[in-house]
C-alpha cells in the first residue's frame, strides 16, 4: 500500500476495510501498520482512515489513534431509528463513543462522520444526528444520497433534492462543523483531500 501511494505520488489517501470482527484487534494493527508505512516512505501524504466500530474496543481504537493519521472517519450512516434496518449489527451510541474516544485520546486528529439520506429519515432526526456529532466535537461531516447497491439492500425511500442537501449543509456549518460536504454525490471519501486544505 505504502509503495503504491509513493509511486502514484498521492497527496492524500483514504484507507478503509471491511469489518474484521474475526480478528482479535478487529484489524486495528493492520490499519496502524499501513498508516506508519505510508508516513515513513511518503511523509508528504496526508492519511485518512475510515474505520469500523471495532465493537467499541478502546484498545483497538487506541492502536489506530497512536498511528496518528490526519483524519479518522467512522460513519454513523443513518439516524438511530433506522439502525435496525440499515445497520443491524451496529449501535448508534457505540459509534458516537468511537468518535468521542478518538478525540479524547488525541484532539489533534480530525474526526469525520457521514450519513446517507433517502432511507426514510425525518428532517428532525437528521438534525439531531448533527447535534449529537457536534456534542462529541466531530469536525467533518458528509451527507450524501443513499443508492441501493443490490436487490437485497434497503430500497431508496426518497431522492433528496440538492436544495435539501444545501439546507442540511448550511445548518451543519452553523452547528460548528469545520468541514461540510452535503450533496447527492457525497461519499465519505469524496473530495476528502479538499477537507484538509487550510487546516494543516
Amino acid at each position: 500500500m505504502a509503495k503504491s501511494v509513493q509511486r502514484l505520488g498521492l497527496k492524500h489517501i483514504v484507507i478503509t476495510s471491511v469489518s474484521r470482527d474475526d480478528l482479535p484487534d478487529g484489524g486495528a494493527r493492520h490499519f496502524a501498520k499501513t498508516i506508519s508505512a505510508i508516513k515513513k516512505i511518503s511523509p508528504g501524504t496526508s492519511t485518512e482512515v475510515l474505520i469500523p466500530d471495532f465493537r467499541g474496543s478502546p484498545d483497538a481504537i487506541g492502536i489506530v489513534v497512536d498511528a496518528c493519521p490526519d483524519v479518522i472517519g467512522h460513519n454513523l450512516e443513518t439516524v438511530p431509528r433506522l439502525y435496525g434496518e440499515v445497520r443491524r449489527d451496529a449501535d448508534y451510541a457505540r459509534s458516537l463513543d468511537v468518535l468521542a474516544l478518538i478525540k479524547r485520546l488525541n484532539s489533534k486528529i480530525w474526526t469525520k462522520s457521514g450519513i446517507m439520506l433517502g432511507l426514510g429519515e425525518k428532517e428532525g432526526e437528521v438534525l439531531q444526528v448533527l447535534c449529537d456529532l457536534r456534542r462529541i466535537n466531530c469536525d467533518f461531516i458528509t451527507l450524501g444520497q443513499y443508492l441501493q447497491p443490490t436487490d437485497v439492500h434497503c430500497t431508496v425511500t426518497e431522492y433528496v433534492p440538492p436544495e435539501k442537501f444545501n439546507y442540511f449543509g448550511e445548518i451543519a456549518r452553523v452547528l460548528g462543523f469545520i468541514r461540510v460536504l452535503s450533496c447527492p454525490l457525497a461519499r465519505s471519501s469524496y473530495r476528502a483531500e479538499e477537507m484538509l486544505r487550510g487546516l494543516k
Binding site: G124, L127, E163, N166, I171, V174, G176
Partner: protein, 124 residues
C-alpha cells in the same frame, strides 16, 4: 381561556431557536402535551408540547425560522373562547414579536440560505 405558546427556554446559554416544522396547522385540534412543533438549537432537537387542549388559532411564525427564545409563537384556543379576546391575544403577541431581541447571527444564517422554500417569513 386560550393560551399563548412561547418558544421555551431550554438552557442557560441558548438564546436562539430554529423552527424545523409545525406539526399542527391553524384550525387543527391539539391535546395538552401533544407535540406542536419541532425545534433546533445549537445543542439539540426538541419538541414543544401544547400547553392546553384546544385548537390552533394562530401560528405567529412560519417554519424554517430562527427566532429568540421566550417569545410568542402561537395562540391556542379553547372551546367557547371569545373571538375578540383571541384576536387581542394575537395583537399582543405580534407586538411582543416585533420587540423581540435580535437572534444569534450564526443561526440566522440558516434562514438566509439559498433555498426558496426554506426562506423565513413571519406570518401575518
Amino acid at each position: 381561556m386560550g393560551a399563548t405558546v412561547l418558544m421555551p427556554i431550554v438552557g442557560a446559554t441558548i438564546r436562539t431557536a430554529f423552527i424545523i416544522e409545525w406539526y399542527k396547522q391553524e384550525g387543527e385540534s391539539v391535546l395538552q402535551g401533544e407535540p406542536l412543533l419541532e425545534v433546533l438549537t445549537k445543542k439539540a432537537v426538541f419538541k414543544v408540547e401544547a400547553p392546553i387542549t384546544g385548537t390552533v388559532y394562530k401560528l405567529l411564525v412560519s417554519d424554517k425560522t430562527a427566532l429568540p427564545i421566550d417569545i410568542p409563537i402561537a395562540i391556542l384556543a379553547e372551546e367557547g373562547d371569545d373571538d375578540a379576546v383571541l384576536q387581542k391575544m394575537v395583537v399582543e403577541a405580534l407586538d411582543a414579536l416585533s420587540k423581540a431581541p435580535p437572534i444569534d447571527k450564526d443561526l440566522a444564517t440558516v434562514i438566509t440560505c439559498s433555498i426558496a422554500d426554506h426562506q423565513a417569513k413571519v406570518c401575518n
